[in-house]
Structure formats: structure tokens, C-alpha cells
């Protein structure tokens, strides 16, 4: 049986189901209990699981991140709620120097099974410190796994995989899509890491899109279809591990790719995926691989400016059309 629920409800269900299944799972973060976070994603959980397992903290991101690591090392399975992805900069030492390296530095003896839930996405008029998409930062660090659900279905399935994983996992939710509905099975399911989703099949150009950009690329694909260009949309769903094979197989068919992620374009997720395509599918390519991401400026507040900084269906379709027609994007 399938019903339509929101991304937000899907996250809530995933956590509730896993907390019922495993009493070691705890939630920790700012206003996660009665408030249910500012996005109300966690509403109702404290009523069911109590304040021992749904733990409201002071506003001290490095502190509760560090405590979650210690709790994970000693037998708990914490889900850390980081209210905005931008606050990753506050927890980087604990996440990257401690959580990511503990298993390796201990020669495999200690483990840190924790999930850091946070979010990404601009155009919410939230300014430069509440709008960033920082998945590239953590995908760079060995020892972390990184998941980017793009729908309610994947939000639930990937989060359940993350909670059951014995490693530190960072999962980014698209904060603009919390109220978007999608079909989600009634029963138990998980979405395994490292398995890309072919969201839409096509033959002429591959659009590799993450998180918030998947829906944007689907809209771009519809625009392209109107011009008789058939676009395939691939959502990797996890950056670490990355399902390279599905991407490369698509490129063998289409020979052209636009890679789209809402992080900044420079030194970002799209650069990594584009270079892997270039390294592993070079002789299948008919055009340069195009990268699209957030403009390399701090996210501005003014709607007139902010809207300019993120890829749009029109811009993606335009770039896809250019490489399809052979209007190569030559360097100067």
C-alpha cells in the first residue's frame, strides 16, 4: 500500500520507527523535543519516547555534537539535529577530526554510529548564514557517509539506512521541500546507500542532479522534451558512497552531461562528478561536461538577487540544449 505524505512526515516516521525498533536510538539537538524543531519535523516524538531519548540541548552545536560522538562510541545510536546546514562550520572539528577518524585511528576497534541530520537550500529569504548547501565539505572527508534525499520516499528510506549504519552519516534534507508530498509505501522499507535513482529515462543528455536540484532538473527535462531533446535525470542519492556505475552507464548512452547541485560550483560536488565522468567515460563524450551550482557569492537576502544564484529549469535546459546542438562551451 502506498499513500502520499510530506517529506517532513517521512522523516518523522523514519525516526519513530527506528526508535521503536532500537532503544539505543536517541535524538539530540536544539528544540527537538516539545518544539519539534522550527520546521516541526520532529513533532510528537517526545510525547512517545520521552525526554530521556528526545533530548533538548542548549544552543551549543560543537558541545552536543561532541557528546553524541561519545555516546555513540559507548553504545548509543544518536541522531543529531543540526538546525541549519550552515551550522556545520560550528561542528567541523567534532565531525571531521573526531567522528570521521575514530574508527580508523583506533585500528577498527571503536565505532561511531551516529546520524547528523541537517539541511540545505536557498531561496527561503533567509540570508547568507541560513541558506547554504555545504555537502561538498563533508563529502571531502573520508570516514563520513553523505546522503541527499530528494523526495519523501528517499528521505524516509535513506534516513532509516543511516540510522542502522555503524558509521557517522551526514544526511541533508532540502528545507524547501519539507511540505512536498510524494507516494511513500505504508510498510517497512529502506533505501540502500550507493544506489542511484534513474528518476527519468532519456537518450540525448544526462542530467545528474542532487537533492533540491532533482525536481528542477525534471522540470528542465520537460522543457527539453518540448524541443525534442530526451533528457535522462539521475539522482545519486548518496555522495559517499557514489554510484558511479549508473552515471557512467547513462553517459555511454547519452554522451552528454550536465551536473547540477545546489552547493557552490567552485570546488564542489559537481566538479567531482564531472571529473569522474571525464576520467571514466571520456571516449563516450560528445561534449564537455557542464557543471551548474549555486553562484559563487554568499547567498544574498534580497529576493531579486537571491533568485539569480540558484540553477533554474530554464538555465539547465539552455545548457543541455547547447551541448546537444554542439555549441561547445570553449574556454577563452
Amino acid at each position: 500500500m502506498t499513500r502520499e505524505i510530506t517529506h517532513s512526515q517521512a522523516v518523522n516516521e523514519a525516526i519513530a520507527e527506528e526508535m521503536r525498533r532500537d532503544e539505543r536510538v536517541i535524538l539530540i539537538g536544539e528544540d527537538v523535543a516539545e518544539a519539534g524543531t522550527p520546521f516541526k519535523v520532529l513533532s510528537g516524538l517526545v510525547e512517545e519516547f520521552g525526554t530521556d531519548r528526545v533530548i533538548d540541548t542548549p544552543i551549543a552545536e560543537p558541545g552536543f555534537m561532541g557528546m553524541a560522538i561519545g555516546a555513540a562510541m559507548t553504545g548509543m545510536r544518536p541522531i543529531v539535529d543540526l538546525m541549519f546546514g550552515d551550522f556545520l562550520f560550528l561542528v567541523m572539528d567534532q565531525l571531521c577530526n573526531q567522528a570521521a577518524k575514530t574508527h580508523y585511528m583506533s585500528g577498527g576497534k571503536l565505532k561511531v554510529p551516529l546520524v547528523l541530520r541537517t539541511n540545505l537550500g536557498a531561496t527561503r529569504r533567509s540570508g547568507a548564514q541560513h541558506s547554504q548547501s555545504l555537502q561538498a565539505l563533508v563529502a571531502h572527508i573520508p570516514g563520513l557517509k553523505v546522503a541527499l534525499p530528494s523526495s519523501a520516499h528517499d528521505a524516509k528510506g535513506l534516513l532509516k539506512s543511516a540510522i542502522r549504519d555503524d558509521n557517522p552519516v551526514v544526511i541533508f534534507e532540502d528545507k524547501l521541500s519539507y511540505q512536498d508530498k510524494a507516494p511513500v509505501p505504508e510498510g517497512e522499507y529502506i533505501v540502500p546507500f550507493g544506489e542511484a535513482n534513474v528518476v527519468r529515462e532519456g537518450n540525448d543528455v544526462t542530467l545528474v542532479a542532487t537533492s533540491s536540484m532533482v525536481q528542477v532538473c525534471c522540470e528542465a527535462a520537460s522543457l527539453l522534451e518540448a524541443n525534442d531533446i530526451s533528457a535522462e535525470v539521475i539522482d545519486p542519492r548518496t555522495l559517499v558512497p557514489l554510484d558511479e556505475r549508473t552515471i557512467i552507464e547513462s553517459l555511454k548512452k547519452t554522451s552528454r552531461a550536465v551536473v547540477v547541485d545546489e552547493g557552490h560550483r567552485n570546488f564542489g560536488v559537481t566538479a567531482e562528478i564531472a571529473s569522474r565522468i571525464s576520467e571514466k567515460a571520456f571516449y563516450h563524450l560528445d561534449a564537455p561536461v557542464v557543471r551548474m551550482g549555486a553562484m559563487d557569492v554568499p547567498v544574498p537576502f534580497s529576493p531579486a538577487l537571491e533568485d539569480l544564484t540558484v540553477p533554474t529549469p530554464q538555465a539547465i535546459a539552455a545548457n543541455a540544449g547547447r551541448i546537444f546542438r554542439g555549441d561547445l562551451l570553449h574556454a577563452i
Partner: protein
């Protein structure tokens, strides 16, 4: 010295031996560095032995500690053995961390040591989280978070101390004030009293002589048993001294502390010598017995060093192992080619 003699010779001799084991371990590690047999460098615990031993003597195997870059003493005191420690210092496969951690990252979870940490103050969160686990599971375990005076300048500690106090976590923050934050006197980096920082959170704070193992142990026994009953957290500042420089390569250090000062501590406030004198004065052991303990420990350390020098390095195939739990080799996993 503590004047109240306890009727527990066996425990006293165990503490004495543990302090000697730390000193001897560090002397051997220093020799490995000076003879260029040890990769990298290391930070000597010598001079601070009474802190680690006095506190760890009050802990059970199930109690946990977190340690620091100057962590060999904590590791020994919590129950580690020489062979696997020297193997770790030399990057050998039989080390506690298969050679992947080294001196600054030794962890020994079988004895409750959650690991040394090379980020100053970096383990305060981990320790407090371990105490949260203890509280949630209700098993009465206590965590001791060791850190130096230098770490009191880091913000993380204040964040987690606040939560530990709010939630009455079973943790003891043990600040080893050895007078120097790397190459800078503590007076130059710490405003006000360090105990006042814990007291600001309503945490019971103590400041004691960290060179007197009996005093340290007496306080630790008291605080640990109270923490088990839910009366924590606690803070202890232990006044101590590192006999060596910041690390083994810090040889010429008169620009930040005088040779007279060092000589005075070594002569008058050596925790091992003073405890040995007390054991003799109380007729718990005579001089010959103490010398015999020293010789026996030295022989076992030398044997462990010889073993570690001959031990195997990890195989090259290990380089991408243990990056992820449940993944044999990280590299093919990360790019999806292991599927």
C-alpha cells in the same frame, strides 16, 4: 604527604608500581625518539604520574576515560600493557590501533580508554557523551575526562560542562595543570582561577596537589563513588609539572622556564620518589624492594621495546581498511565499484 596511613599495603605497592611503569615507559619512548627509531614525536607524561595513577586506581575496568596528546600515563594507569603500546608508538601492526593511531591516538577500549586526542580539549565532548550513555543506561559507570590547563582555553569544554551540570552526568573533569600550555606559562593564558570556571556552572570544584598520589586517590575515590550515585559532575584541578618539554624535541626551553625551576620540581616534588620515601617511612617497603620493582619494570619495558622494534609493520593492504565499519576496503566502496 598524606599522614593518615591506610592499612592497605598491596594497593600502595600497586600504585607505586604503576607510577614507575609510566616513568619507565616514557624513558624508553624518549630513547626511541633520540635514537631515531620512533616515527614522529611524542609528549612525555613524566612528572605527572600521581595524577593518572591516583585517579585510575579509583576506577573499575568498566569506567571510562578520555585522554590527551600527553596520554601514555593515562593509558598505562587504566590498564594497558607495554607491548601493544610500544608497537603502537612504532606504527606496528600489533599496536593497540594497528599502528594507525600512534602516540597521540592510543585507544584501549577493553580497559575503558576511549582514546588520546590530538586536538587540545577535543575529547571533552566525547567524555561527556560517554557519561550521558552511563546515565541513560543506568549502570553506574563514571567517566573521567583528562585534559591540561591549555585545554581550559577551548570553548567546547564550557559547552559540555554546562550540559553535564544541567543533566547531573557522572563525569569528573580532571584538569592537569602542569604550569605550561605548550611553550607558554599558564598564568599568561588563564585569567582568574580555573576552579571558578567550573563553579560558575554550579559544579563542585577542587584544587589539590597532583604530586601526592594518596591525596589524589583519596579525593578520586570520594568523587567517583558520589558520581556513581548521581551527585556529579565534579571538577578537579591537579597542580603538577611536566618534567620534560612540551614534546621530546623541545630541548632548549630556557626561554619559557628556567633550569632551576625544573631542578626544584625534580628534586623536591617527584611524585614517585616522594611516595617511595613514604612507603619506606611507613615500613610498607624497604629501599631494596623499591629498587627491585624498578628493575623488574625496566626489564619488562626493554623486552617490550625489543619486541616492538622487531614486530611487523601493517601490510600495505591495510591502508584503506577501517575507514568504514562493515567495509573491507574504503576506496572501491567510495566510488561504488565494489558493488
Amino acid at each position: 604527604m598524606n599522614s593518615g596511613r591506610k592499612n592497605n599495603a598491596e594497593q600502595y605497592l600497586r600504585m607505586y608500581r604503576q607510577m614507575v611503569r609510566i616513568r619507565v615507559f616514557e624513558d624508553q619512548a624518549n630513547q626511541l625518539y633520540l635514537s631515531a627509531k620512533m616515527p614522529g614525536l611524542t609528549h612525555m607524561y613524566s612528572g605527572q604520574e600521581a595524577v593518572a595513577v591516583g585517579i585510575c586506581e579509583a576506577l573499575t575496568n568498566e569506567d571510562r576515560i578520555t585522554s590527551t596528546h600527553r596520554g601514555h600515563g593515562h593509558c598505562v594507569a587504566k590498564g594497558a600493557e607495554f607491548k601493544a603500546m610500544f608497537c603502537e608508538l612504532l606504527g606496528k601492526e600489533e599496536g593497540y590501533c594497528r599502528g594507525k593511531g600512534g602516540s597521540m591516538h592510543i585507544a584501549d577500549q577493553n580497559h575503558g580508554n576511549l582514546g588520546a586526542n590530538a586536538i587540545v580539549g577535543g575529547s571533552t565532548g566525547i567524555a561527556t557523551g560517554a557519561a550521558l550513555t552511563s546515565k541513560l543506561l543506568g549502570k553506574g559507570n563514571v567517566t573521567v575526562c583528562f585534559f591540561g590547563d591549555g585545554a581550559t582555553a577551548q570553548g567546547l569544554w564550557y559547552e559540555v560542562m554546562n550540559m553535564a551540570a544541567l543533566w547531573k552526568l557522572p563525569i569528573i573533569y580532571a584538569c592537569e595543570n602542569n604550569g605550561y600550555s605548550e611553550y607558554t606559562a599558564t598564568a599568561e593564558i588563564a585569567a582568574g582561577a580555573i576552579t571558578a570556571r567550573a563553579e560558575a556552572f554550579g559544579i563542585e570544584a577542587h584544587r589539590i596537589d597532583g604530586q601526592d598520589v594518596l591525596k589524589v586517590n583519596e579525593l578520586a575515590e570520594n568523587l567517583v563513588s558520589r558520581a556513581r550515585k548521581g551527585e556529579g559532575p565534579f571538577f578537579v584541578e591537579l597542580e603538577t609539572y611536566r618534567f620534560s618539554g612540551h614534546h621530546v624535541g623541545d630541548i632548549n626551553r630556557e626561554y619559557y622556564r628556567s633550569k632551576d625551576e625544573e631542578a626544584n620540581w625534580r628534586l623536591n616534588r617527584d611524585p614517585i620518589k616522594n611516595f617511595g620515601d613514604w612507603l619506606e617511612s611507613q615500613s610498607i617497603a624497604d629501599a631494596d624492594e623499591l629498587v627491585a620493582i624498578g628493575n623488574e619494570v625496566k626489564a619488562s619495558a626493554e623486552a617490550a621495546v625489543a619486541y616492538a622494534l622487531d614486530a611487523k609493520f601493517p601490510d600495505s593492504s591495510e591502508v584503506d581498511m577501517h575507514v568504514y565499519v562493515g567495509v573491507d576496503h574504503a576506496l572501491p566502496y567510495i566510488d561504488g565499484s565494489s558493488k
